[in-house]
Structures are given as structure tokens and as C-alpha cells.
Amino acid sequence: MEVLRLHNLQKSFGSVRALKSASFTLNEGEVVALLGDNGAGKSTLIKAISGVFPVDRGDIYVRGQRVSIRSTRDAMDLGIETIHQDTSLAPDLSIARNLFLGREPVNLKWLGVFAPLDLAQLRDAASALLKRVGISKKLDADALVSTLSGGERQSIAISRAMQFAAKVIILDEPTNNLGVEETHGVLRFVKEVRDAGHSVLLITHNIHHVFQVADRIIVMRRGEIVAEQTVADTDLLTVESIITGADMSALLKETRAK
């Protein structure tokens, strides 16, 4: 079933046409990898979906309904959770406080921003979540995020997205700056998220990761989607040639002949 559909999204920064035209569909329980070189427009595309800035043109549909996403809050309310490149957690806050940042459980709701946090619920929910997502090493909900490793931070950010029953979880280069083991942890986690019924849009430029976790591949080049294929129907070299735009068919034939 279709969860998210983009139709002809466009976005320019001054004279830079970061997003010329992007249309694609994301289905339920599917991991779609968004590939492309640096500057291809991947981050711009997902920032538009997650409400960081408005698009110039184009439509976004969530479960068939046309929606307008004007703020990060709008996107979150529609069930779209995004884990941005390097910037998703506040290191000086505890894991529990990070998990609920922007959606804090409070008592005396009528006090608005001055309402007291429901610390018991905050702690319990955070512990339960950490247990449920089964992050390898036991993490303490009260530990400061600054004491965690890069992989643990990514896992926390992904758990946060899961906790609000997000329909769509968008990961922008989640394995950047991670060690080998941590990278595998995050990829395993992505599969678990999918198996739990969420749809995942995974942005990366590491093509090997894609073949480990993705169901479908979308390739962007210079602000446009240039290819869309299921993983089963393609291979590493083909995808690589599409990303770079180089004519690798000759090379491809050579390899296949061997």
C-alpha cells in the first residue's frame, strides 16, 4: 500500500536548481534507498518532505491525501520522522529527554510551555523503548547523549522515530562517520524497523549498504531522479554507473563475460 507519494517536487536556492523534478512513491513496509553523488539533491529532497523548508512547486501525498508540509511539526504530525545528517540529538541532554524532545509528556497541560515534565513517565517510557528496540549494549535512559558512541546515537535517533509510530522514517546518511561494527548495527536496525511495519527512506552514498537492506533503489543526479529499480533486478555495477552517469556498459559486458 502506498504511504508517501511525491509529485514533481522542485526547489531552487537562488540560481541553484537543487531539485529540478522529483516524483516517486514509497510503500508500506518497504526500505527505499535514495542514492546519488554529493550535491545530487538528496538532502534537499528529504528536507522538503520533512518540513525544513517549503518546496517551490509540486505535491506531497500521504496515504493518498494531498498534504501541505510547512514546518517540521507538520511533518511529524503526519507521521514522517526524519533523522538528519549529524544533527539529530542534543548531546547535553539525557537519552530520555532526547527521546521526547518537542513532545514532552507533561502534567498540568494548561500551563503551556511552563508545564512540568512528567518525569516518571519520561523515564519509564524511555526505558521501555530502549528495551524494546534492543539496542545491543544496555543503555541507561538517564545517560547523557554526549557519553554515547556514534552508532548508539544513530540507534537512539531511529528509536525515537519508531516510538511515535511514524509511518515514514527518513534517514539521511545514517552510517556516516561510523565504524564497521556500528554500521552493521544500524543497518540491522533498519531491517528491524521495516519488519515492524514502518517504511524507510534511506539516503546514502554507500552502495554496498543499499544491497544489504533496501528493497528498491532510486538514483538522483543533478536534482533529478534518473533511475528507479528493485534491488532484485539490478546489480552493483549498473547502479554505480547510473550514479556517476558514466557509460559503463562496455565495462559491464566485460565483467559479465568473465
Partner: protein
């Protein structure tokens, strides 16, 4: 320790992290300093001297509360000392030269402080200039305005007792101690600030914004609005402190509060709040305010030559900061 973790820990763990926290080490040093001063000069703990310290303490302390919240959100305000000077000058001018009712004049002063804070906040957040540059310029504008409208002369005192004077600068005796109502203001505002920073949703936002602004914004936290309101709050508290001071000494000087911005920031960072944002502690700020006040008071009593005061104050501040940095390093390693 940051506000984020301490109330959520099991007791034993909480105790050990509390002992390693910067506000705790500040408290220990404060106690040592008080003991040294008390032993060196018996007058240090005399009712008269304590009353004196408690009269000065709230005036800078109140500003320091606002500055702590602002620093925790990752910004600071160098214009507080100038606002401290300008607000009472404007109020007094309106009353004495304009024939305006004191209540109305105070309201005008309040609006002026709100406007100054809002301008600071809007330029910092919407145009994206660093708060150092914006509030440094504002310091010059505000101080310049105070000097210009008074032609550089202190204003004649406001010494008619009345509701507002009692409210802001009334005094009362407890035994042989003499306290000002400003102390209640400081205590009340401190409790409020502790509540907001540690227990309220807003405090979570303030720490998150200072710790990683983009992360907070991505979670739907209105970072710019929070910062603008904190700039307004800090300005208003500076104006309030200025009024309290002017009423207490029955005079409004256009140069009042000169250099207070640095003294206030020193109080805040000595207490353990990080200059880089994300980690703030109101309790630490109260300790810091007490510490700087008692140092200034104590070194006079123990006979340090007047011109050498700042050497001592500076050295003690540096020592505190080094201590915090070492503790921070230690905590990161363990």
C-alpha cells in the same frame, strides 16, 4: 552535572554525579572562602556586614538568573549593565521632568526594556548576527542614550516613600539584620528559574537549543521564539535590578551598572553554566553570585589594597574555570 540528568537517577548514582558536578565544587569553594574570610576578620560575619552583602547581592543576582537561561540557550547579553543604568534614568526623567505618575513611568520603563530585549533577540535570530556583536552595539546605544538624555548628570533622588519604593526597595529588620525586599525578589525569581530550567517543558527546550539548535528545530522546538523571549526576559530583569538599586540609594545615575555585564557573566560561569550553551544551572549561579559578592566584600575586610581588588577577583574566577574544565575532562574520561 547538567539539569538534564540529575533528577532522573537512582539515589546513589545521583549522589556521586552531584559531587562531581560543577555547582557542587563551586559550593565547596564558596564555603572555604567564607570560612577564610570569617577567620581572617571577625567583622565578616557581623550583622552589619551580612546585611550589606545581602543588599547588593540581589541586584546582580537577578540579572544573573536571566543570563543563565540565555547562556544555556547558547546566547549572551552584554547590554544588561547599560539597561540597568538606562531604565531608572528614563523613569526618573518622566516623573521629574515630564510630571508623569510613577506607576505609569515604571510601565514605560518596562516597555523600554522589553523593546531593547526584543531588538537584541530579533537581530540575533532573524538576521543571524552573533549575540556578542549585537549586544555589544546595544550596550553602546543604551549607555549613550542614558548619558545623552541626562547630559551625563545623575538625577535627583526619588525619596518619596510609596507603594513602588516599598515593593522594590523596602527594608525590614530580622533581629539585628537589616534586609531589603529585593532579597525576596531574588529568592522568588530564583525558585521560578530553577523550576523552569529543571522541571518545565520550556527548560528542556532551552537546554536542547543551546546544546544542538538544529536538532531542537528538527523536533519542532520554536528555537527563535524561545531565544527572543529570553533576551526580553534578561533585559527586563536588568531594568528591574536597576530600579531596585536606584530606589535603594535614592539616585539614578546614567553610569550606574557600568561593567556589570562582565561581573554577571562571571557569576554565571563560575557557578558552572557552560559559556557554549546546553548546560546551565541556576543553583550554580546563586552560588556564583554569592561567591563574587563575598570575594568583593571579603578582600576589603582582610585589607587587600583597593586598587588590587580586581587582581584577586580575576585570579579566583580563573581558578574556578580551570577547576570546572578539569572536572569536565574527568567526567568525560570516566
Amino acid at each position: 552535572m547538567t539539569i538534564a540528568a540529575e533528577e532522573e537517577m537512582p539515589r546513589a548514582k545521583r549522589r556521586s554525579s552531584l559531587i562531581r558536578s560543577p555547582q557542587f565544587s563551586s559550593l565547596v569553594i564558596l564555603i572555604v572562602l567564607l570560612a577564610v574570610f570569617a577567620i581572617a576578620d571577625a567583622n565578616f560575619l557581623s550583622p552589619l556586614n551580612i546585611s550589606n552583602m545581602m543588599a547588593f547581592l540581589p541586584e546582580l543576582g537577578i540579572i544573573a538568573l536571566g543570563m543563565t537561561l540565555l547562556l544555556t540557550a547558547g546566547e549572551f547579553d552584554l547590554s544588561v549593565g547599560a539597561v540597568f543604568g538606562l531604565a531608572p534614568v528614563v523613569v526618573m526623567l518622566l516623573v521629574q521632568n515630564g510630571g508623569v505618575d510613577i506607576g505609569v513611568a515604571l510601565l514605560a520603563g518596562l516597555l523600554l526594556c522589553i523593546a531593547i530585549g526584543a531588538i537584541n533577540g530579533l537581530i540575533v535570530t532573524k538576521i543571524g548576527i552573533s549575540s556578542f556583536l549585537v549586544t555589544l552595539s546595544m550596550l553602546l546605544v543604551v549607555r549613550g542614550a542614558a548619558l545623552y538624555i541626562t547630559q551625563g548628570f545623575p538625577l535627583k533622588s526619588w525619596d518619596q516613600p510609596g507603594f513602588f519604593v516599598t515593593l522594590l526597595a523596602g527594608s525590614f529588620n530580622i533581629g539585628t539584620f537589616r534586609f531589603y525586599t529585593s532579597l525576596w525578589w531574588f529568592i522568588g525569581l530564583s525558585l521560578l528559574a530553577i523550576y523552569v530550567l529543571r522541571y518545565a517543558k520550556l527548560g528542556n527546550w532551552i537546554s536542547a537549543i543551546g546544546s544542538n539548535r538544529n536538532a531542537a528545530v528538527a523536533r519542532g522546538v520554536p528555537a527563535d521564539a524561545v531565544k527572543i523571549w529570553l533576551f526580553i526576559l534578561t533585559s527586563v530583569l536588568a531594568g528591574l535590578a536597576g530600579m531596585i538599586s536606584a530606589f535603594r540609594i535614592s539616585a539614578a545615575s546614567p553610569v550606574a551598572g557600568t561593567g556589570y555585564e562582565l561581573e554577571v557573566i562571571a557569576m554565571v560561569v563560575v557557578g558552572g553554566t557552560a559559556l557554549t550553551g546546553g548546560r546551565g544551572t541556576i543553583f550554580g549561579t546563586i552560588v556564583g553570585a554569592l561567591m563574587l559578592r563575598s570575594i568583593r566584600n571579603g578582600i576589603v575586610l582582610i585589607g587587600v589594597p583597593g586598587l588590587a581588588y580586581n587582581i584577586f577577583v580575576g585570579v579566583i574566577i580563573l581558578a574556578m574555570l580551570i577547576l570546572h574544565a578539569l572536572l569536565q575532562k574527568n567526567a568525560a574520561r570516566s
